[in-house]
């Protein structure tokens, strides 16, 4: 989101959340990851952007939403980059460490 005034940012967020609710998604959480300068200049909608605000919307909904929402956000001139990501399932508790692999056994072809 390239717009500096807070009111306009709020308006954009309100629009997107309403569109999501229309399609039957349940919004769980909305996080503001801050406004920072973009890692590289992004040109979108005939404009070269250098700064932007990052927002993360936590939602639950049917998978058919994804394509329609990407379309909707693509047409919004205030949105620079959009993306949908699945909720990461962290499995770090099972990390047992590096198990030494016996390369010699792998090299010798096992006869069936």
């Amino acid at each position: 989101l390239p717009l500096y005034p807070l009111r306009l940012q709020n308006a954009v967020l309100k629009r997107t959340v309403e569109a999501l609710m229309e399609r039957g998604a349940v919004v769980r959480n909305l996080e503001n990851l801050g406004e920072r300068s973009l890692p590289y200049k992004i040109s979108k909608h005939n404009e070269r952007h250098r700064r932007g605000g990052y927002f993360l919307i936590d939602l639950e909904g049917p998978p058919s939403i994804v394509s329609t929402m990407m379309d909707h956000l693509g047409r919004d001139i205030d949105v620079i980059r959009r993306g949908f990501i699945k909720h990461p399932v962290s499995k770090t508790e099972e990390c047992s460490g590096i198990i030494p692999v016996n390369y010699q056994d792998k090299l010798i072809v096992k006869k069936k």
Partner: protein, 131 residues
């Protein structure tokens, strides 16, 4: 004249088999002997070291924390270091690569170089730069 060994019966020349257990200098192979020693029990090595852990073992890798991901990226070209340089296990290397690619696409992390504010981070990868 009759020789002393010819007159005797052949049975008496059979070797007398001694009972091994009775002889004091023979070591028995069955169970606890009089000295009180046991046979060694088969078990796993109790002094074995726990399996080595890589740097990220137990740490959750996220595409949002760019600082952590930037530690596995070259400062000059921005290319991701291989397994032989980072020293991570299979799972974590894959996770880090996927997270870096995702951060590139979504506009969190620069692609062609390393974020200058992260250049003074501690070195994790064992890479030698030419002087």
């Amino acid at each position: 004249s009759a020789l002393p060994w010819s007159l005797c019966s052949s049975a008496s020349y059979k070797k007398t088999t001694h009972n091994l257990n009775s002889l004091p200098w023979c070591v028995t192979e069955q169970g606890p002997s009089a000295r009180g020693g046991h046979r060694p029990i088969q078990m796993e090595n109790p002094y074995k070291d726990p399996p080595k852990k890589c740097v990220l073992c137990g740490i959750n890798v996220d595409y949002k924390n760019v600082q952590l991901l930037s530690q596995f990226v070259s400062p000059h070209t921005g290319c991701i270091y291989g397994r032989h340089i980072t020293g991570l296990c299979n799972k974590k290397q894959k996770e880090v690569t996927k997270a870096i690619k995702r951060a590139h696409v979504l506009g969190f992390m620069p692609v062609m170089f390393k974020n200058p504010s992260f250049l003074t981070d501690p070195k994790i990868c064992n890479i030698k730069y030419p002087e």
